[in-house]
Symmetry: C2
Subunit: 212 residues, 2 copies
């Protein structure tokens, strides 16, 4: 863990030198991370070039989905390990042409517990909460939600069918992640995506001005 | 881990002496474990008496939901630990009046990775896969799905809205959990619950005849 903290800081320095904005995207399995990342990358298009590192226990399904959309992607398979660590990310990042990218998105293993303790050297930790999971998840997984700078409510298109209690969900996020920027969207329909993309572009611009 | 294996066997012996059928219910966060367990207990009613041990990192929301339905329940909060272990279950079980129960359901922490390695002394491991999570989850979390004797596809009522590919999901379950009994249901609407309850009653009866 202490070794991971050091390697994460090394990653952070490396990514800063490469002028990359780096996101660590975490959530439950099936909250829609891959679709969210794909739509983010595709919609940013030429505005900001996005590369992705994907972590899963097994399969390269997510990498294949992203690659089909023309996104540069490296898949990490962790075997039985329930999170990515800074060393895995460092090795995977070297396989991407980072000089051609503005934003590096790390899609962590689907898990609301283990990844909370592992800094990867990211600028922003982005936690997803899908409307079909239930509004109580921030209260039930406080370390993860508390550690995130951004919370994104996904699958807005399923909110009504799932009986999602939006007010309660936002209140729970406010309670556990009161410091976090909150976005509500559907990557599937595109609703709410623009506010998220504008935020990302502003974060990227701010990081650039800090680093030059 | 080795200590857990021994304690799990001790639990198994203890539960057998108490003539309990014990389920370890695992899934992603938000797959509907609590609603599934509540509906199982309520619908079994006088046929079989069900008690529950619930594991969460934080809150006793799930225990409160079950208690409101008249179900005997003990909540374990694990802090930052991503799974229950045999010792936690042993201590919690002692707080229930086991002689008044036929079935003990253990609702594990919502996590498709960590709980796979921890035997709790259960008779059946039951993994839930909700229609809103995506059909690829068995392939992406093979240790958990492979370790289960029963797989339950939940949230059938949301399958159409979520664009759930049922044939693909069943093929993926068949590939990773080919030995598992598969049920498809909606705890919310009740559809498909009877087949599951009949299976449970048959498992309980079989266990009783073995143990006398």
């Amino acid at each position: 863990m202490e070794k991971n903290a050091l390697l994460a800081e090394r990653n952070r320095g490396f990514f800063r030198a490469k002028k990359l904005l780096v996101l660590n995207v975490v959530s439950s399995p099936g909250s829609g991370k891959t679709t969210f990342i794909r739509e983010t990358a595709v919609r940013l298009g030429a505005r900001l070039r996005v590369g992705v590192i994907v972590g899963d226990l097994a399969t390269d399904n997510d990498a294949a989905k992203l690659r089909t959309a023309g996104i540069p992607v490296i898949q990490i398979t962790t075997g039985t390990v329930c999170h990515l660590d800074a060393d895995m990310v460092s090795k995977a990042a070297r396989q991407l042409d980072l000089d051609q990218l503005d934003v590096l998105v790390i899609e962590n293993v689907g898990n609301l517990v283990c990844p909370a303790d592992y800094d990867l050297g990211e600028d922003l930790r982005v936690v997803l909460l899908s409307t079909t999971e239930g509004e109580d998840k921030p209260l039930k997984y406080p370390p993860m939600f508390h550690s995130a700078q951004v919370a994104v409510v996904t699958k807005g298109d399923l909110a009504a069918a799932a009986g999602f209690d939006r007010a309660q969900a936002l209140a729970n996020l406010q309670r556990v992640s009161h410091h976090a920027e909150v976005f509500e969207l559907s990557a599937k329909t595109g609703e709410g995506m623009n506010a998220w993309l504008d935020f990302l572009a502003a974060q990227h611009a701010a990081a650039q001005s800090e680093r030059t």
